[in-house]
């Protein structure tokens, strides 16, 4: 405890320090018990590779990293991985799952995300492009999918407009105002019906354009405020477009012939372009440095992505009765993210450099299990269907499938594989993938699906063939554990491998398959720890 008092940081005095030691000082100051030991190199590299590339490292990558004697090899690895194309593809994938919640895919959206992360586009710019998609730009119009997918009918149901309002609030501002649609929120005092309705006033007039093939959103004329009343009080109220905590926008009055900048064309079914376009205003007002909800939401989500739990958790319930676990830290991240022009990779790099990120998930000897929100021990994180697929491929000695943004050129097989894995392992549409949620369906898939058994067959460069060539069982164990779990085996594990192979001398290839399968379905493989 004395240590905690001595290290209590003064953030202002530290302003010329890099961000990551300041993060660690704040975490240490709020710790409630011992911190876990630093992760060893294997644990670190596996975690980093899953977080930045979306797959486990290959056995050769692990060997190289373990053999590297440079004192700053972790920093080098972080920079190398972050600079790779593979990381752009993975970030695009991870943000797709976060932003679309498995509602659907679109090639132009995938391309837009991949290109944005390749350029390391600032987050505020991405959000502007998503909220007011530029239909005239081939490289930017895919961003419209964020809105347009939510403006489609789903199944036999009509457009879920409250769902769209809710998702804009949840995913971009970190607040879930859906339950404040018909009345002020019953459990969350901060969420007012006027907040829901003000956000609705920005979005309620939008529709999917059907005159074009790419994802595109049109706007109807908005001529008056949204009228509403609480189902409890029945008091008539009205609001123009207004962000929670922001100012209400005036709705201008135009004469009939002036309402459209470009009038609709019935013949070509081209929708008109109104002079007053709330979406354009939303794109200006929402992703701004002085919109605290916007900034806190994104840094909290990046923190969750790397550290396994939001400083505000659940991620979409920022409000005064659900304060951050580390209030100063959230403010610090928000300020620094703004100061660094919403640079996603910069923040991920700083987070990866923290001791908190590089701690082991192994509990300290003799201590109680600490609360998850203290970040004293690394938290286990879920793996997406795509991370499992890519990791299974790497572990069994196969190429990971191409990413959705490049599949045009290649690989129908990769597309099919991804769909199969998503069906078995991904959450249902509209269910966020935030927590670890094993299912019997997934267990049956990993146990019995013929794909995985096929990958455990001998073949050019496959894991089983590599193992089969090694005569010394200790070497077999080393290569097996490096390939699947990214670490060297313990003596006990070498012994187990030796005994299992010895018990099936006539059926060595099958026995190797059993050993590999057992590790591929183990908790250690199936979570990011």
């Amino acid at each position: 405890m004395l240590l905690a008092v001595l290290t209590l940081p003064n953030v202002a005095l530290w302003a010329d320090q890099p961000l990551h030691p300041r993060i660690d000082a704040l975490i240490a100051a709020a710790a409630d018990g011992p911190l876990a030991a630093p992760a060893d190199d294997s644990e670190f590299l596996r975690r980093l590779s899953l977080d930045l590339l979306g797959r486990i490292p290959s056995s050769q990558e692990v060997r190289d990293f373990l053999a590297d004697t440079a004192p700053d090899k972790r920093r080098q690895a972080i920079d190398r991985l972050l600079a790779s194309d593979e990381s752009s593809r993975h970030l695009a994938q991870a943000f797709d799952v976060m932003l679309m919640e498995r509602l659907g895919e679109h090639e132009e959206w995938s391309r837009y995300l991949a290109e944005s992360f390749r350029q390391n586009k600032p987050w505020d710019q991405m959000v502007r492009e998503m909220l007011f998609p530029d239909a005239s730009s081939e490289s930017l119009r895919g961003a419209g999918f964020f809105l347009s997918k939510r403006l489609e009918n789903y199944g036999q149901n009509p457009v879920d407009m409250p769902g769209l309002v809710r998702d804009v609030g949840r995913l971009l501002l970190g607040i879930d105002v859906q339950c404040a649609q018909c009345h002020d929120h019953l459990f969350v005092d901060d969420y007012k019906q006027a907040d829901y309705q003000g956000l609705f006033a920005y979005l309620g007039h939008t529709f999917v354009r059907t005159d074009v093939q790419f994802p595109a959103v049109g706007e109807n004329l908005v001529e008056k405020k949204v009228e509403f009343s609480s189902v409890f009080e029945q008091q008539p109220m009205a609001t123009g477009p207004r962000l929670p905590g922001g100012r209400e926008l005036e709705i201008p009055v135009f004469s009939k012939d002036e309402a459209f900048e470009v009038p609709p064309d019935r013949k070509t079914r081209t929708p008109g372009v109104p002079r007053f376009r709330p979406l354009q205003l939303l794109a200006e007002e929402l992703p701004r440095a002085d919109n605290r909800l916007f900034v806190r939401n994104v840094v909290n989500r990046l923190w969750w992505l790397m550290l396994g739990r939001g400083l505000v958790h659940p991620l979409d319930l920022h409000h005064s009765d659900n304060p951050p676990s580390h209030p100063e830290l959230l403010d610090l991240l928000a300020d620094e993210f703004v100061a660094h022009q919403f640079d996603v990779r910069w923040l991920m790099r700083e987070l990866a450099l923290t001791e908190a990120y590089q701690r082991s998930s192994v509990l300290p000897e003799g201590a109680d299990v600490p609360p998850a929100d203290r970040f004293q021990v690394a938290l286990e994180k879920p793996l997406s269907a795509e991370q499992i697929l890519a990791s299974l491929r790497v572990a069994t000695g196969h190429e990971p499938p191409a990413s959705p943004s490049t599949e045009k050129q290649a690989d129908a097989e990769g597309v099919a594989l991804r769909k199969t894995f998503q069906a078995a392992l991904a959450a249902q549409p509209r269910e966020p993938e935030v927590e670890i949620r094993p299912s019997v369906q997934a267990a049956l898939f990993l146990s019995n699906n013929s794909l995985i058994l096929k990958w455990l067959q001998p073949g050019e460069g496959t894991l089983i063939s590599r193992l089969d060539k090694l005569k010394d069982p200790a070497q077999v164990a080393d290569e097996l554990y490096l390939s699947v779990l990214g670490r060297m085996p313990t003596d006990e594990e070498r012994q187990e491998t030796r005994e299992y192979l010895a018990s099936r001398p006539e059926r060595r290839v099958e026995a190797l398959g059993h050993l590999a399968w057992a590790l591929l379905t183990s908790t250690e493989f199936c979570v990011n720890h």
Partner: protein, 428 residues
């Protein structure tokens, strides 16, 4: 809580998600489908497990060609009415086998529901038309899975046997959360990936599972227990399900096939009997193709005998096995069909006056509740909505709908429409 009369029906998914989210901290039993093995909430039910067979006649069976015939009237159609084993109760001649079992059945002829479109009707009926409280209510199967649990069968509590595709169907569960969804046996086939791969012997499977368990033990020895417990648990559940694969793959006795019918519905009903015998809490069987807007009478002449055959065989078998005491059987559609015969010799959708059939689980036997007017157009006695049926069914299952509520992340929600009540005539 005040009425949400103007709160339009989009789900408060936050609450549903919070339910899912909290499972991580809960006992290992609460994971994914694993949650389906949770012990029953109502402990008094443990002593005698009650079960449900829910036969969903999709598209709308005609009450006039089944349980409420009006022969010789303007809208009565060509079929006769026949006497049943209960004096005074007549049913359509298309139900000869069921007629002989009428003394085991309870029918309701005074259903008066609201929606006359399939899309609204199917969901509304199977959700029991709860009042709108801004959440998506579970279908009856998910509700029973939640309220009664899985019992001791080692099988999921909600199986759905249907034509077409199978898989894990989460949609039925509404705010209860995905784990109360249905495991669907598409075309009666076992769920995907259930069967051990042919290249793997049972011994080898056991050996590799033992290796997996040891790997997990080593991992968990030094980490927080929750994640490994949950992860290991779903594999154990998968293994338990695989051990029952005989249930899904075994051959049917040819005598049974003959009695139930070799047609799709007959085969699916026979499968339903087997899984009920194995102890599954709730089994839904779908029959499709009943939307007879055109050629209603030939349509029912073709469909009804298949229904009659399999339904009667099921009632006989459940009784013979002593299961009718604790299995509630329900056969119904989303609505009935119009008395008026349209220009295509069809009948359209008619929620105003229609019928359903039930049996078992302590319901009174050999009675027909309510009646329609002479031409079958409207209900003459007290009309019953689906909410009344939900109250009745829950009571028959030993769940008091007045005292039992769902807890939706702090929001108390009634399990059945709070303006309705059980139908007293049906209950012992």
């Amino acid at each position: 809580m005040a009425k949400h009369a103007r709160c339009v029906p989009w789900e408060h998914a936050m609450s549903r998600r919070r339910w899912l989210g909290t499972t991580l901290g809960a006992a290992a039993g609460a994971y994914g489908l694993g949650g389906l093995w949770q012990p029953a909430l109502a402990e008094q039910l443990q002593s005698r497990q009650r079960q449900v067979l829910f036969i969903w006649i999709d598209g709308g069976m005609s009450q006039l060609e089944s349980w409420d015939p009006k022969p010789g009237t303007r809208f009565g159609g060509p079929f006769r009415a026949i006497p049943t084993s209960v004096p005074g109760i007549h049913v359509s001649e298309l139900l000869p086998r069921s007629a002989r079992l009428m003394d085991r059945l309870a029918i309701v002829r005074s259903l008066c529901t609201q929606d006359n479109s399939h899309s609204a009707g199917v969901a509304r009926i199977q959700r029991g038309d709860p009042k709108n409280r801004g959440v998506t209510y579970p279908y009856f199967g998910s509700a029973v899975a939640k309220l009664l649990g899985a019992g001791q069968s080692g099988l999921p509590p909600y199986l759905w046997i249907k034509p077409g595709g199978g898989g894990f169907k989460y949609e039925d569960a509404g705010f209860l959360g995905a784990k109360y969804g249905a495991l669907a046996l598409g075309d009666g086939q076992p769920p995907e990936n259930l069967l051990r791969h042919e290249s793997l012997s049972a011994d080898d499977d056991a050996a590799r599972q033992a290796l997996r368990r040891r790997a997990n033990q080593r991992y968990a020895a030094r980490r927080r227990p929750e994640v490994n417990d949950a992860h290991g648990y779903v594999f154990e559940m998968a293994a338990a399900l695989m051990e029952q694969q005989e249930l899904f793959t075994g051959q049917d006795d040819p005598r049974d096939v003959q009695r139930y019918g070799s047609h799709e519905f007959g085969r699916h009903m026979l499968k339903a009997r087997k899984v009920l015998e194995a102890g599954v809490t709730f089994v839904k069987v779908n029959s499709y193709g009943w939307d007879t807007h055109g050629d209603n009478f030939n349509g029912h002449a073709r469909l009804m005998p298949k229904f009659d055959q399999a339904f009667a065989a099921m009632i006989e078998d459940l009784e013979e096995r002593g299961m009718l005491d604790h299995v509630l059987v329900i056969a119904m559609s989303e609505f009935g069909r119009t008395p008026r015969i349209n220009g295509h010799v069809g009948r359209d959708h008619w929620p105003e006056a229609w019928s359903l059939a039930m049996a078992g689980c302590g319901l009174h036997k050999g009675l027909a509740v309510g009646q329609t007017n002479d031409e079958g157009t409207f209900v003459d006695t007290q009309p019953y909505d689906i909410g009344h049926m939900f109250h009745t069914w829950f009571k028959a299952l030993g769940i008091d709908p007045q005292r039992t509520q769902y807890d939706n992340a702090g929001q108390p929600l009634p399990i059945a429409h709070d303006d309705c009540h059980a139908v007293a005539e049906l209950l012992a």
